[in-house]
């Protein structure tokens, strides 16, 4: 028996629930020489903004216990060059392509989304309202239900692609934000983006990142992510995409039990570039071994009593 791993978000059908997270996979091409990208459920691009962004000065990353901090600063070539230089390669793939969109105003989000409209090779948009490293961008919208609603609503009104809202864990009540973006018409919700963190070099008495603080990712944040995915999945009706320290098949299964229909691999790509493909194979084997016909049967099947 070949288990059915497919998942659907709005009109888009994914061959399996495994995605690679924004910012950890470049624009796909970087990994193409040693991975069969078509075996992935989907690829999410690095965040795209209206204009090119240089990003923060180095150092931009540092390792922490079972995790890492990053403050890249949304470095990207801007939407025009993305379409011209990065999209042609992505278009050649059979896997689903999601473009991650960031901005510092509702107008900027809308501006990017309008430029992406109708471009061949794009299947969905993931709206980053949760970047912790850029003062005016992302997080400003994701930390408040009203502004999150406004941003997603405006995006929805200006695009025909299904829209996923990516949420920040650096908020008082993530469930309120999730409900707000669902209300605004988001087709799915992905969580969590990185947690604000910091590391200090005792020898120099300086922060290890030029931006002083950065976003924490990796196995260190998995318990936080699981709890938030579980809580949000209880509240919303749209599909939940789980992100946060997923390194192997068991981690992925935990998120699925907690209520995630799909999962994203982020930092895991750095540790093992084949991590995502191994998880696709692992999920298939798990379903076969446990006589599960459809992966969907497992979603939210956590036994709480």
């Amino acid at each position: 028996m070949i288990p059915d791993l497919s998942v659907r978000i709005d009109k888009v059908k994914f061959s399996n629930p495994v995605l690679v997270a924004s910012g950890t996979f470049g624009y796909g091409e970087e990994y193409a020489s040693f991975l069969d990208l078509n075996k992935l459920g989907g690829i999410i691009t690095k965040s795209i903004t209206l204009n090119p962004r240089e990003g923060h000065p180095p150092p931009r990353t540092c390792e922490t216990p079972s995790g890492m901090l990053n403050a890249i600063g949304l470095a990207n070539p801007g939407v025009k060059r993305f379409i011209k230089e990065k999209l042609p390669f992505l278009r050649t793939l059979k896997t689903k392509i999601m473009v991650n969109v960031a901005g510092s105003s509702v107008e900027e989000y809308v501006g990017v989304v309008k430029k992406l409209e109708g471009k061949k090779g794009i299947d969905l948009l993931e709206i980053n309202i949760s970047c912790p490293n850029v003062k005016e961008g992302g997080i400003a919208f994701g930390s408040n239900p009203k502004s999150a609603y406004r941003c997603i609503k405006a995006v929805k009104e200006n695009t025909s692609y299904p829209v996923i809202a990516k949420l920040s864990p650096n908020v008082n009540n993530i469930m309120e934000i999730a409900l707000a973006i669902e209300e605004a018409g988001a087709d799915a919700v992905s969580l969590i983006n990185t947690l604000v963190g910091m590391a200090i070099d005792l020898d120099t008495k300086k922060p290890r990142l030029s931006n002083i603080t950065g976003g924490l990712s990796g196995p260190a944040i998995k318990p936080v992510a699981l709890a938030m995915v579980f809580k949000v999945a209880q509240k919303v009706k749209i599909p939940v995409i789980g992100i946060g320290g997923i390194m192997n098949t068991n981690d992925a299964l935990e998120f699925i039990l907690a209520g995630a229909s799909m999962i994203q691999i982020g930092t895991g790509n750095f540790v093992d570039p084949e991590c995502s493909i191994k998880i696709v194979q692992g999920l298939k084997r798990y379903c076969q071994d446990n006589k599960i016909k459809r992966i969907g049967e497992l979603v939210g099947k956590l036994k709480t009593k």
């Binding site: 910012g23 950890t24 996979f25 470049g26 970087e30 990994y31 020489s33 040693f34 690095k46 240089e54 990003g55 000065p57 180095p58 150092p59 931009r60 990353t61 540092c62 390792e63 216990p65 079972s66 995790g67 890492m68 990053n70 890249i72 470095a75 990796g218 196995p219 390194m247 930092t267 790509n269 750095f270 540790v271 093992d272 570039p273 084949e274």
Partner: protein
């Protein structure tokens, strides 16, 4: 072509108190690795430490299907690596990054190695000699803090190249930094500038100085940079260095850069 494979550790050798040399069996990588390229490896199957560690190739011999890495124990990652045993398998991603651009037969070569910076330059040196580059045309400036840190001295002495040593405490060779020695030789016009290719690797303060000297004397100098490298293949933009042409990725656009191009802090 980038390979992701398990290599077999053939030997681990201690060269000084904290410096180790690994010999790893991996035919593909031994065949493809050029001087300047690096290898990204996992020191543990677990998640602590989490990320891969980057090491320049120190030697690659396709005839023996093996390559060598040289490293100094500086933290928990390299500590774990120093405890590996022959027969252990190591998760490798290589060869990564660009390589040095090589000199023409008639050109002179000056190598500037500070501390562990000797690792890739030693490979470059042996690579050139293997290609029948005349050893008389090669000069190596090699500086460390103190005499005990000088490694590979026997091998280097047997190569018939010009060797200048510097130690910060003056226990052997020139007393002071290698950049001080190099600048002195430059000023006294004992270093040929015309038709000479310069190569440097070492700690950042040294490379910053080399970069300044290269700009001042307009040297054709390539420097190999070290950095924390999360992905190794140009995807995460986490390892960038500032250059006159904007930020560049050490792992993909480098690790070898023109010394006149980079802006080091």
């Amino acid at each position: 072509m980038i390979y992701k494979k398990e290599g077999l550790l053939l030997s681990i050798e201690s060269l000084s108190e904290k410096v180790f040399r690994l010999k790893i069996y991996s035919p593909d990588m031994a065949k493809k690795a050029l001087p300047g390229n690096f290898c990204h490896l996992r020191v543990t199957k677990g998640f602590s430490p989490l990320l891969r560690r980057a090491f320049s190739f120190h030697q690659a011999e396709k005839e023996r299907n093996s390559f060598e890495l040289l490293f100094k124990v500086v933290g928990p990652g390299t500590e774990l690596l120093s405890q590996k045993n022959p027969g252990d398998k190591i998760d490798l991603l290589a060869p990564l990054g660009n390589s040095f651009s090589f000199p023409k037969k008639e050109e002179n070569v000056v190598l500037l190695a500070g501390g562990m910076g000797i690792a890739p330059l030693f490979y470059l040196l042996n690579f050139l000699l293997k290609k029948k580059f005349s050893p008389e045309k090669i000069t190596l400036f090699y500086g460390v803090k103190k005499e005990e840190e000088l490694i590979l001295l026997e091998e280097l002495s047997s190569l018939r190249i010009k060797l200048h040593l510097a130690t910060e405490d003056g226990t052997i060779g020139y007393k002071g930094m290698i950049t001080g020695l190099f600048l002195k030789e430059l000023k006294e016009k004992r270093v040929k500038l015309k038709r000479t290719k310069f190569y440097a690797c070492g700690p950042n303060p040294m490379l910053k100085k080399i970069s300044q000297i290269s700009k001042k004397f307009n040297l054709h100098c390539q420097i190999s940079l070290e950095n924390h490298i999360p992905c190794g293949i140009g995807a995460c933009l986490g390892c960038v260095v500032k250059t006159i042409n904007g930020y560049k990725r050490v792992c993909k656009d480098g690790p070898v850069f023109d010394a006149r191009e980079v802006i080091l802090d």
